[in-house]
């Protein structure tokens, strides 16, 4: 154990002496955590609608005001032709167009049937889908209300209605930040782990100091532990600052679940992750290579982890990739424990999988790290 003590002392000194590195570890990630959730708001609101009312009737006016009163839509233009409205779509000022045809009211009262034209900018599929679906339900509400009015004349009123009471659990105000902050924290810990650990050993290789270590009687696992432990501690510290200082204090996210459980999982995750960083560094000769490889995986870690887009929505093969991504599990666990108060029983699967990752990466890395060529 004594050599380990010296190794750790050395690593900490090197890290804390590196004035370029420290802000990169502590300031930049936490600053991002502070700012990014404000940007990461996927809630679809303010859907911009452009209305072409060719009818100018009481029906068309009623429908228009219903739409604008719904709170989902913002009027970006009230134009005279579809063409004009389309310009608004091209310049991204409008997301959808509602065109009310000539004689809308007349045809409805006379024929009991009329079409409405809706065009949605579907480049962003979610916004398009949701906007279309909101508009649809407003129109069918409107349809119902004019039907009822019309049927007031008929004596037998047999109108059935089903009320939907929707409840939003865990996040009643539908605050997207609550969803993003814990996950972004997870990503920040991941970045620190992979980049720092991945670059560190390679740096010693490139500078040549690793030779001096290799001729010494230091044991392989001591050296590796000497590299892992400092980053493990830094990971925990950054997480703690982010968790209590930013997530809790700034964003008011009070964890519902057991903190001990969360930290235990974080510790386990870091072991797996640092093992991965180590693995990268054992395969690289230069920092440039290590960085290229870790950048590659980092992109996958971030984009395929369910951080931004739901894993359920991915095609099967992509889901498989997402589920061999350790970050996916950590993000799931942190969201479950913090937001829903999930307990040990709920995350048992996650724990075993992460133990698997930890063993796999670290064993692989230790085997691949040779003191001899």
């Amino acid at each position: 154990m004594r050599p380990l003590k010296f190794l750790l002392k050395k690593e900490f000194k090197q890290i804390f002496r590196n004035k370029a590195l420290l802000p990169m570890i502590f300031v930049m990630p936490l600053l991002q955590l502070l700012v990014m959730p404000l940007a990461a708001d996927y809630e679809v609101k303010n859907i911009n609608i452009s209305i072409v009312d060719n009818d100018q009737s009481s029906y068309s006016k009623e429908l228009t005001s219903k739409i604008l009163a719904s709170g989902y839509f913002q009027l970006s233009g009230y134009t005279h032709s579809f063409k004009e409205s389309f310009k608004l779509i091209e310049s991204d000022q409008a997301d959808l167009i509602l065109e009310i045809p000539h004689n809308f009211e007349k045809n409805l009262s006379r024929n009991g049937f009329e079409k409405l034209f809706i065009a949605v900018n579907a480049i962003n599929g979610t916004k398009a889908g949701l906007g279309g679906s909101y508009l649809n339900s407003i129109i069918s509400d409107f349809n119902q209300s004019i039907s009822i009015k019309a049927s007031k004349n008929t004596p037998d009123l047999e109108f059935k209605s089903i009320d939907i009471a929707s409840l939003n659990w865990y996040n009643p105000y539908m605050n997207y930040k609550i969803f993003m902050v814990p996950a972004l924290l997870a990503i920040i810990v991941t970045m620190i782990g992979v980049y720092m650990c991945g670059l560190n050993i390679v740096k010693e290789k490139e500078i040549g100091t690793i030779e001096q270590i290799n001729v010494s009687p230091i044991k392989k696992h001591h050296y590796i532990l000497g590299k892992l432990i400092p980053f493990w501690i830094i990971g925990i510290v950054v997480f703690t600052i982010g968790f209590f200082g930013i997530s809790w204090l700034v964003y008011g996210i009070v964890p519902l679940g057991n903190l001990f459980l969360l930290y235990a999982y974080l510790g386990l995750f870091l072991v797996a992750l640092l093992g991965f960083g180590l693995l990268i560094s054992t395969y690289s000769e230069t920092q440039q290579q290590a960085m290229s490889v870790s950048f590659f995986f980092m992109m996958i870690f971030i984009l395929m982890s369910g951080l931004f887009t739901s894993i359920d929505a991915m095609p099967d093969w992509a889901q498989k990739i997402a589920y061999i991504n350790p970050v996916t599990y950590f993000i799931e666990v942190i969201r479950m424990v913090v937001l829903k108060g999930s307990g040990l029983v709920n995350i048992t699967k996650h724990i075993f999988i992460m133990i698997g990752f930890a063993i796999l990466f670290n064993t692989w890395a230790i085997i691949n790290y040779r003191k001899t060529t």
Binding site: V44, T126, V293, A313
Partner: protein, 368 residues
Amino acid sequence: MEQLIIFIKKEFKHVFRDNKTLLMLFGLPIAQIILFGFALTNEIKNSKIVVCDYAQDISSIQITERIASSKNFEIKKTIFDKEQIEESFREGDVKLVVVFPANFHKDLNHFNTAQIQVIADASDPNTASTLTSYINNIVRGYQQELNMTSMGSIKIVPEIRMLYNPELKGSTNFVPGVMALVLLLVCVLMTSVSIVKEKEKGTMEILLVSPMNPFTVIIAKAVPYFFLSLVNLTLILLMSIYLLDMPMNGSMVLLYFVSSILILCALSLGLLISNVTETQESAMLITLMGMLLPVIMFSGFMFPLENMPVPLQVISNIVPSKWYYIIVKSIMIKGLGIMSIWKEVLILSLMTSGLLIVSLKNFNIRLQ
């Protein structure tokens, strides 16, 4: 001029000798376009939901069947006790619970009104509201059919046209985004690291004491990455069009022109980073730690910029990939010409020249 060519050759050799770096230069963009083009989607389908059915009557069963047959939902299980709802959510994969109260059908028939409770796991608010609105539509459809007979025969048929992306594919939105991300970051990273590496190894001094004009050194560093990035762009475009069925409605020439501006912008940024850093490690960390998330966030392909607080919207303006993303979408998908996007192109160009001037000036100062 001859010197310059010798130099550029040297730089190309550096790049092509290092397999792992080549992997990043070409493998990364290719793999990511494929991966994200297919995998990233905001479409919500097969969401697991739970039905809590106290009624178990004809109406509740009919509605449940409709939900089950929708491609958006997959009914994980049916429970008969509200107490189990919380547990279902805690397991993580259940996104929504539909509760039918007892006597649902009876209420609907006798009192003409009945209630359904929809409980969504709103820790992901977006999925929650989308799923709730889907359920809403299904129930409304059911209701409308029930009333068919009794209602006056008024019917409004909304005809919805999905412009640009009729199948609502995620790739239409994400591919231009990933393009912007990859081109920008790879280029910044490669330039900054390759220059700082020479600084770190001391070879930069050798170059600078040579009779070569310092700007020649810089140009020589930049040229290979400029060309490699264009090759990269071509690969990405070929894949997007032939593999991901991305439309290419606008002018290819214009797209290449604008992409060249973005690449130049990235090169200048890389140069700037290499001016302010002394080690490869810090150059990489600035790029990867400092730029990755902001570029993803502020380009606008992940999160709608208009949702952001105003200060952040202002900040997003200094992210070059934001403008590039708008331009690529306009050219490729909307098929717009330069007349419609000249503003964005101008902003990107100004940004590029600004960065270029600042970084070259900085480089010059460092030499004296």
